[in-house]
């Protein structure tokens, strides 16, 4: 009976079971962790939030492992498996890195310039908006209403926020 052998293996290699290509998996999981960990973990600390160097480091280490794993899969086949899985995992990891960079660096430039906003020394534009009780509040009324201690109001802070909280 003859068996069909894969064309790129020699007869002597047929009986060798490929080792698990740990490097590929390690590289992939490191990249995934690098991608997912920014928001839950590294955003909380200013030193790792503004430039997510830990995440980039994790990506770099992950990609090194993926490179090692790919080399083993192709140069040392059939000792190591991963000829199909390797490129898939590597592509996903690179895609994760690209997407990560895109969100990090585009988020920073995401805010409008607000060049026409009132500057120091200019008059604050008036408004008439309803408060939580449905009553209309104007800037003029805020500035003329005495504060809680019955002293004339010294001023008011207008806090604009995104909403949808």
């Amino acid at each position: 009976m003859s068996e069909d052998l894969p064309s790129n293996t020699s007869p002597a290699a047929v009986n060798v079971k490929p080792r698990a290509n740990i490097a590929l998996w390690l590289g992939f999981f490191l990249s995934v962790f690098a991608f997912l960990s920014y928001i839950p973990i590294f955003v909380r600390y200013p030193s790792t939030r503004d430039m997510p160097w830990v995440n980039f480091l994790l990506f770099a280490v992950g990609l090194v492992f993926l490179f090692v794993g790919l080399r083993r899969a192709f140069a040392q086949a059939p000792l190591y498996g991963g000829k199909i899985l390797g490129p898939i995992l590597a592509t996903l990891s690179v895609a994760a890195l690209v997407f990560f960079c895109f969100t990090i660096f585009s988020l920073g430039k995401h805010l409008p310039p607000s060049t026409q906003a009132p500057k120091i020394g200019q008059k604050a534009p008036d408004f008439a908006l309803s408060d939580t009780n449905g009553a209309i509040v104007t800037l003029a009324s805020l500035l003329s209403t005495p504060s809680a201690s019955s002293q004339p109001t010294k001023g008011v802070v207008l806090i604009f926020y995104r909403g949808y909280w």
């Binding site: 988020l107 008059k123 908006l129 408060d131 939580t132 001023g155 207008l158 995104r162 909403g163």
Partner: protein, 91 residues
């Protein structure tokens, strides 16, 4: 004085949950937000227009005395900076 596109009902809920004591105003069509040029087009959920974070300190004559336009969503005004600006108003 907090201004956003949230409706009065949404702001009441927020106040109650977070314990804010200062007034919240609703600017549902972002009219005042536009007047102060703090509009952030399409940045809200479902692409709604919302405000970018910004604070303005206005004195009793209606003049702007301090502003904070954060260049980064992740960085907000520190309370002590704002308090320092506010205490300068009495001079």
């Amino acid at each position: 004085m907090a201004i956003s596109v949230d409706s009065p009902t949404e702001s009441t809920d927020l106040c109650r949950k977070a314990g804010y004591t200062y007034p919240f105003l609703s600017d549902p069509n972002a009219e005042v937000i536009r007047r102060y040029d703090v509009l952030h087009k399409g940045a809200g959920i479902n692409g709604h227009d919302i405000a970018r974070p910004a604070e303005f300190l206005v004195d009793s004559a209606g003049i702007v005395r301090w502003i904070n336009l954060t260049g980064d969503l992740r960085v907000r005004a520190r309370p002590d900076e704002m308090l320092k600006a506010a205490s300068a108003l009495s001079h």
